[in-house]
């Protein structure tokens, strides 16, 4: 599958440039360059471990909140965790979307 190819090649850049213009391609490269550290961090083993710990912690908080045993601080902790998770998920989604766009897989 084309979407499973990890890295972007010069052929992808040329094809995208022919279809959308060199300026759009260079802008896309800039966006991907800005997001790449974050994406690599999140998708790295360390990032995966961190997110796994976070998800375990969020499961505990959900049980307390549903059982009406959570304190106010735990509710805030859950809320912050959800926002953090959504923010990082959005970054990963957008990065992959732009990456696929550059690869010509949309």
């Amino acid at each position: 599958m084309e979407s499973e190819r990890k890295e972007i090649t010069a052929a992808d850049l040329a094809a995208h440039s022919r279809r959308h213009g060199r300026k759009a391609t260079s802008q896309l490269l800039e966006i991907l360059g800005r997001r790449r550290p974050h994406y690599e961090l999140v998708t790295s083993p360390g990032g995966q471990l961190m997110f796994s710990s976070l998800l375990v912690r969020m499961d505990e908080l959900v049980e307390k909140i549903v059982g009406n045993k959570a304190t106010e601080e735990e509710r805030v902790e859950y809320k912050v965790s959800v926002d953090f998770l959504n923010h990082n998920a959005e970054i990963i989604t957008k990065y992959e979307k732009h990456s696929n766009k550059l690869k010509g897989v949309e």
Binding site: I8, L13, S26, L29, R36
Partner: protein, 271 residues
């Protein structure tokens, strides 16, 4: 050849003949001698049998009729030719009659013939004056008809265009082709009209003229410049893009070359 018989006549006989008297002696019969052949034998006269005269009146009548028919036909042809010649002559006379009439009108038959140089000069002056007035009248009539026709011909155009055509016509095509002013005006007006239209057509800018020869490299780009926007400087990546390219394992030069391809026509001038 038959022998000639000489008869002698006396003077008395001649006188008597003149006076109407009977001759004194009857002239004797002319004796003819028989012809003799080489051996001296007398050749008997050849007696020719005269054919018995039998006249075929019917054949004679038919021959006469045919003869008359031929003569009649010849006469008819001659009359026809003559009639045609006369008709041609009459037509020729009629066609030339106007001119001759005009020539005759120049003179008055009852006028006395000038006998002195002064009289002759006066007559000539009078004749010249008459001719001049006739010419002036004809010119006036011609010009009137000419201008009137020009005015009619301009009904298809507005006043400005019509004036332009008429000016051009008087400038270049004001030619007298015949004595018919309407025809001349029409011909000259159309000539001027055609000349103007031809010029307008040649002056009209051809929108495709710039596409002749080598294709315009700057199509879709800024006008009035020969610079080809497609061969502009290579793309310069910013820090993040350069880092990303480096992270993917590509060289920055390769990425720049990849972006140097032909830009889509629909994007030219936009990005």
């Amino acid at each position: 050849m038959p022998d000639t018989q000489i008869v002698e006549v006396t003077d008395e006989e001649l006188d008597a003949a003149i006076m109407g008297a009977e001759p004194t002696e009857e002239p004797g019969p002319i004796e003819l001698t028989d012809e003799v052949d080489v051996d001296g034998n007398v050749i008997p006269p050849v007696v020719t049998k005269e054919p018995k005269e039998t006249i075929d009146w019917e054949k004679e009548l038919n021959d006469t009729k045919s003869d008359f028919g031929r003569k009649q036909k010849a006469m008819e042809t001659q009359i026809s030719t003559l009639t045609n010649s006369m008709s041609e002559l009459v037509n020729a006379i009629k066609s030339g009659q106007g001119n001759r009439q005009q020539e005759v009108d120049d003179f008055d038959i009852d006028d006395p013939i000038p006998l002195t140089m002064g009289g002759l000069a006066e007559a000539i002056n009078k004749l010249m004056s008459q001719k001049q007035s006739t010419t002036d009248r004809e010119v006036t009539q011609y010009e009137g008809g000419y201008l009137k026709t020009i005015e009619k011909l301009g009904s298809d155009y507005n006043d400005k265009v019509h004036k332009h055509i008429v000016d051009r016509m008087f400038k270049e095509f004001n030619i007298r082709h015949s004595d018919n002013p309407a025809l001349d005006a029409k011909l000259n007006f159309r000539d001027a009209e055609a000349a103007i239209l031809r010029e307008v057509r040649e002056r009209k800018a051809n929108p495709l003229s710039k596409n002749k020869g080598v294709a315009n490299k700057n199509l879709g780009g800024a006008t009035n410049t020969d610079q080809d926007i497609r061969t502009s400087a290579p793309v310069k990546f910013d820090k993040y893009a350069a880092d990303f390219i480096k992270a993917t394992g590509m060289k920055e030069e390769d990425a720049q070359k990849a972006l140097e391809g032909d830009m889509p026509l629909y994007l030219r001038g936009r990005v």
